[in-house]
């Protein structure tokens, strides 16, 4: 797939920035407003999807190689699990304790930096979801091309 016309390419490269920003906003403010890691992650994935549709797969492949993408996927999941285990280590042997809020950084209600581990978890989930959903769509769309050559 070569990509689409110049109009689509120009517009989507602009829109991409907006979508990414919106996704990051949704992730970061997940504990204050509607949204959260999951919705934001899906939005991030769809921004890359837009680029893929407009510019073709090879372009995205250069920008975000598949191997890196699957590493990001593992990393996001690992981060979230680490937040859980850190509670086991730092906070009185309690799995999933919100150790930041309770012990180190209570923050002020309605501030961006508040609620302890909740924003951190949102970021980890956003990373994980964005990477993994993009990965699966990429796989599904490239798979068809390979088979059509084989048949």
């Amino acid at each position: 797939m070569k990509g689409m016309t110049i109009i689509v390419k120009t517009i989507s490269s602009w829109v991409k920035v907006l979508i990414v920003l919106f996704g990051i906003y949704i992730i970061l403010f997940g504990h204050l407003t509607p949204g959260g890691g999951f919705a934001g992650g899906v939005i991030l994935a769809s921004s890359y999807l837009l680029i893929m549709l407009a510019f073709g797969r090879e372009f995205v492949q250069k920008d975000l190689p598949l191997a890196l993408d699957s590493k990001l996927d593992c990393l996001g999941a690992l981060l979230f699990a680490m937040i859980a285990v850190l509670g086991l280590v730092l906070c009185d042997k309690i799995f999933f304790a919100n150790f930041l809020y309770q012990e180190y950084l209570p923050g002020k209600a309605f501030d961006l930096i508040s609620a302890g581990t909740i924003p951190l978890s949102n970021i980890a989930i956003g990373l994980k979801v964005g990477a993994s959903l993009f990965l699966v769509i990429f796989l599904l769309s490239t798979f068809r091309r390979d088979t059509s050559v084989n048949r």
Binding site: H31, L32, G36, A39, Y101
Partner: protein
């Protein structure tokens, strides 16, 4: 209240068209309509978190479904399974449905919210003390990432499992010749 009926009937019509149409592409598009209807419904049910998530998931799910259906050789389908089996399934499903309708009459009415009637339910505490206990103004966020964060770990793992599973299913070569044993 009537908005819920309108939306539900819209959703059900979309589902019926999606199920009965012979064209796979229109079936997928009807699923899109269903999903957006559901998203609106969530918005009217005062669940903005879910409405946002539903709408973005819907877009992504539609792309996944369309990717898999368009430009396959066979977008049109014909006929169901054998007649006898179909009739039996429909009868069984209809009986379960009637039983279900009877059951729902005994449940608390729509719009009365079961949690408000239970004395020591968890939800009351979430609403009253959620902000104080976790520091998050979005109570849903505080439930999924603090009170019930373990569920969310499970949810992340489910997604991870599916992605690993999809990469495994879609890999190019599954079997290889066995070299001489090294163990």
């Amino acid at each position: 209240m009537y908005i819920f009926y309108v939306l539900l009937i819209f959703i059900i019509i979309a589902a019926i068209i999606a199920i009965e149409t012979k064209n796979l592409l229109s079936a997928v598009i009807c699923i899109g309509a269903l999903g957006f209807g559901a998203s609106l419904m969530f918005l009217f049910l005062r669940a903005p978190d879910i409405a946002i998530t539903q709408i973005v998931v819907e877009v992504l799910g539609l792309i996944i479904l369309i990717r898999s259906t368009i430009s396959r050789d066979l977008t049109f389908i014909s006929g169901d399974k054998e007649f006898f089996g179909t009739v039996i399934s429909i009868v069984i499903i209809f009986v379960i449905f009637l039983a279900g309708v009877k059951v729902f009459e005994t449940m608390p009415d729509f719009g009365t919210a079961i949690f408000a009637q239970v004395s020591e339910g968890a939800s009351q505490t979430y609403i009253k003390e959620g902000l104080q206990n976790t520091g998050a103004a979005n109570i849903v966020s505080s439930v999924i990432l603090d009170y019930r964060a373990y569920d969310t770990l499970g949810e992340t793992t489910v997604l991870f499992t599916c992605i690993i599973g999809a990469t495994v299913i879609l890999r190019k070569k599954a079997k290889k010749l066995l070299e001489e044993p090294d163990l």
